[in-house]
C-alpha cells in the first residue's frame, strides 16, 4: 500500500512546482483515510505538503465538504434548498430525523450516522436528492427512509 506521503507527492505533480494547488486533493485524501480532518490528519497533510498545519486548517475550514469534527461512519446529506424544498424535502428530512433520532448536524449516539441538511446538490429535477456516503440518490421519498437507514446498518 502506498503511503499517504507518496500519494500526496503524486498529487503535487499535477500542478506547477512551488504552488499550493495540491492542498484540496491532499485534504480530501486525508479525510478519506481518517474519516474526518483531525488535528493529526491536518498535521500529516501539512507535513507532506511542506506547509504549516495552521495554513492547512485555514483552507480546510473554508470548505463545507471537510469535516473538522468527527462524523459518523456514514453520512446522510439531505438537500434542503429551494427546488427540493418545493417538492417535499422537509418531509424527507423529518423522516430521517425520526428514523435516526437525531437532528441535522448531529450524529447518532452509537457513532454510526451523521445527518446533515445541505445546500443545493444539483439534482433539482427529482424530489428529493440525498447524498448517502457521498453517493447521490435521487427521488427519495419519506416512505423510503426507513429502508435506507436499515441498509446502512447492515
Amino acid at each position: 500500500m502506498t503511503s499517504f506521503r507518496d500519494e500526496v507527492q503524486e498529487l503535487k505533480t499535477r500542478y506547477p512546482e512551488g504552488t499550493r494547488s495540491a492542498i484540496l486533493p491532499a485534504l480530501r485524501l486525508a479525510q478519506e483515510r481518517h474519516g474526518w480532518l483531525s488535528r493529526e490528519a491536518i498535521e500529516e497533510t501539512a507535513d507532506a505538503l511542506e506547509l504549516t498545519p495552521a495554513y492547512c486548517y485555514s483552507v480546510a475550514s473554508f470548505y463545507d465538504w471537510f469535516h473538522l469534527e468527527p462524523v459518523g461512519r456514514h453520512t446522510i446529506d439531505v438537500c434542503t434548498n429551494v427546488c427540493c424544498g418545493l417538492v417535499n424535502a422537509q418531509a424527507v428530512l423529518d423522516a430521517f430525523e425520526r428514523e435516526l433520532g437525531v437532528g441535522p448536524g448531529e450524529t447518532t449516539p452509537d457513532g454510526e450516522v451523521t445527518l446533515r441538511a445541505v445546500e443545493c446538490l444539483g439534482g433539482c429535477s427529482t424530489p428529493t436528492i440525498v447524498a448517502i456516503d457521498d453517493v447521490y440518490r435521487q427521488s427519495v421519498t419519506p416512505e423510503q427512509v426507513p429502508a435506507i437507514v436499515a441498509e446502512l446498518g447492515q
Binding site: 499535477r14 484540496l24 475550514s61 470548505y63 434548498n81 429551494v82 418545493l86 429535477s125
Partner: protein, 450 residues
C-alpha cells in the same frame, strides 16, 4: 445514476447531439456520433481563425454572465507576447440553486466537453487545462475521468494536459476569481479586478475561464459553421441552444435542450406539462436563485437575454423553477437569503453583514414581528449591497429578496397584519431547515447583532 430527464425538447441537438438516452461515455460511442471530428478540423486551422469563428457564432457564457466566449478568448495574449504558460480552466463548480445541467453534460457527453477544451486549447495555444469540478460530484467526476483516460490513451490530447481538480463544497468557488484562488490552494475568496484572468489568472498567468456548457457547445459551432450557428435561437445576441433546467412544481421537470427565445410559458406548460394537480403558478425562479423572481404576467417573455433584460430578468444558468400557489413568498425569500448568508465568503462587509441582515428581516416578517418600516429597510439594505462588493454574491442575495418585497408586497403586508405567516404550516417551504445557523465560511453567528 442520475434519474434526471435529459432530452432535446426542440430545435437542433447541439450540446446533446447524438445522445438518445444512452450516455456517450466511451470513446467508441462518441466517435460513432462524429466525436472529435471538429477537433481535427479546428486543429488544421490557424488559432486566430478558430477564435474568429467563435466570435462570429456569438456564443455567450452559459454559466450566468453571458459574456461573449470568443471575445474572452481574444483577450488572451499569444505565446509570443508573454513568457508565461497560458491556462484554460473549466468552471464545473455547478452550484447555483436550480442548476443541474453541467452535471448531465459530464454524465452524458463527457467527451464533448473534452473536445471543446481541446479546441479552445488550440485556439489560445494553451497546453494546460484544469477542470474545476464541484466536490460533491462523484459520479460526474468518475465519468469525466474515464473519458479523459480513454482520450489520453488514444493520443487525442495532442500534448495538452487536462487535470480534473475537485472542489470541496463552496458555492463562491463558481465565481471565476474565487475559483482561481481555490485552484491555487487557498480559501476561495474572490479577487479584485483588474487584472482580469485573461491577463493574470491562475499562477499569475493568462487564463481562459469558461463554463462547462459553453465549452461543450464549441464543437457544434464548427460542425455547423459559425454563420449557421448564429441563426439558431434569438439572434443577434442570444444565439444557439441551451440546456434549460426545469424544476419545482412542474409535471415533467428535467434538462431540456431548446433554442434561445422559446417562452417560459412554452417551456413550463408544453414541454414541462404545467403545474401538477391544476394548481396555479405563483412565481418562477428565473435564471437561478440569484436573480429577480418572475411573476405570471411575464410568462410569455422569450427566454433570451435581450427580451428578459428588458423586463428586468436574467437568463442566468438557464434555470426555470416553478413555484405554485402553495408557497409563501416570504419563506422563499428567507430561504434564499439564508443560502447566500451561508455562502458569503466574508471578504466584503456589505455582503457579509447584509446577507445576515436580510435573513433577520425576512425571519421577522415571517414570524410577524416586523413592521411596514422593515419592508422599506429591506429594500434599503438590498440597495446598499448591490454593486458594492468585489463579486456578485451580495447582489445575488439582494436581487431576489428585493424582487419578492417589491412584487409581492401585499403578501408581505399580510404577514404584518396577521402577526405571522398566513399560510400557517401549509406552505411547501414551511420550517425548512436552514443548513447551518452561521456563516459557513466566516464563522459569524447568525444572531449576532447587525
Amino acid at each position: 445514476m442520475s434519474e434526471t430527464t435529459v432530452r432535446v425538447a426542440e430545435g437542433p441537438a447541439l450540446v446533446l447531439a447524438g445522445y438518445e438516452g444512452e450516455p456517450l461515455r466511451s470513446l467508441e460511442s462518441y466517435r460513432a456520433v462524429g466525436g472529435y471530428a471538429q477537433l481535427e478540423k479546428a486543429r488544421a486551422e490557424d488559432p486566430q481563425a478558430v477564435i474568429q469563428q467563435v466570435i462570429e457564432s456569438n456564443l455567450r457564457g452559459r454559466g450566468g454572465a453571458f459574456f461573449p466566449t470568443g471575445r474572452k478568448a481574444s483577450f488572451i495574449p499569444t505565446p509570443d507576447k508573454i513568457a508565461r504558460p497560458i491556462y484554460i480552466t473549466v468552471n464545473a463548480d455547478e452550484s447555483e440553486p436550480g442548476t443541474f445541467k453541467d452535471r448531465e453534460i459530464m454524465l452524458k457527453v463527457p467527451h464533448r466537453l473534452l473536445e471543446g477544451c481541446l479546441i479552445a486549447a488550440h485556439a489560445i495555444q494553451s497546453k494546460q487545462v484544469y477542470i474545476y469540478i464541484r466536490g460533491e460530484y462523484l459520479e460526474e467526476y468518475e465519468s469525466l475521468q474515464g473519458a479523459l483516460g480513454e482520450a489520453r490513451d488514444a493520443g487525442i490530447l495532442g500534448g495538452v494536459e487536462i487535470v480534473i481538480h475537485r472542489g470541496a463544497g463552496a458555492y463562491i468557488c463558481g465565481e471565476e476569481t474565487a475559483l482561481l484562488e481555490s485552484l491555487e490552494g487557498k480559501r476561495g475568496q474572490p479577487r479584485s479586478k483588474p487584472p482580469f484572468p485573461a491577463i493574470s489568472g491562475v499562477y499569475e498567468s493568462p487564463t481562459l475561464i469558461n463554463n462547462v456548457e459553453s465549452i461543450t457547445t464549441i464543437p457544434s459551432i464548427f460542425a455547423l459553421g459559425p454563420e449557421e450557428y448564429a441563426k439558431i435561437g434569438a439572434p443577434p445576441d442570444s444565439t444557439g441552444t441551451r440546456l434549460f433546467c426545469l424544476s419545482g412544481n412542474v409535471e415533467r421537470p428535467g434538462v431540456y435542450e431548446a433554442p434561445h427565445g422559446i417562452t417560459a410559458r412554452h417551456l413550463i406548460y408544453d414541454i414541462g406539462g404545467g403545474v401538477p394537480d391544476g394548481r396555479t403558478l405563483k412565481a418562477v425562479m428565473m435564471g437561478g436563485s440569484s436573480f429577480p423572481v418572475m411573476t405570471p404576467d411575464d410568462l410569455d417573455t422569450p427566454l433570451d437575454a435581450d427580451s428578459l433584460g428588458k423586463k428586468g430578468y436574467f437568463i442566468g444558468s438557464g434555470v426555470v423553477t416553478v413555484i405554485d400557489e402553495r408557497t409563501c413568498i416570504v419563506q422563499f425569500a428567507l430561504r434564499v437569503a439564508q443560502f447566500y448568508m451561508h455562502e458569503s465568503c466574508g471578504k466584503c462587509t456589505p455582503c457579509r453583514v447584509g446577507t445576515r441582515w436580510l435573513v433577520q428581516l425576512m425571519r421577522a416578517v415571517e414570524e410577524g414581528t416586523a413592521s411596514e418600516r422593515d419592508l422599506d429597510l429591506t429594500l434599503d439594505v438590498c440597495d446598499r449591497i448591490i454593486g458594492k462588493c468585489l463579486c456578485v454574491l451580495g447582489d445575488s442575495a439582494a436581487m431576489p429578496v428585493a424582487s419578492c418585497v417589491t412584487k409581492f408586497r401585499d403578501e408581505f403586508r399580510e404577514h404584518l397584519a396577521h402577526g405571522g405567516c398566513p399560510f400557517g404550516g401549509d406552505s411547501q417551504l414551511a420550517g425548512l431547515f436552514a443548513p447551518v445557523d452561521q456563516h459557513a465560511h466566516t464563522a459569524v453567528p447568525q444572531e449576532a447583532p447587525v
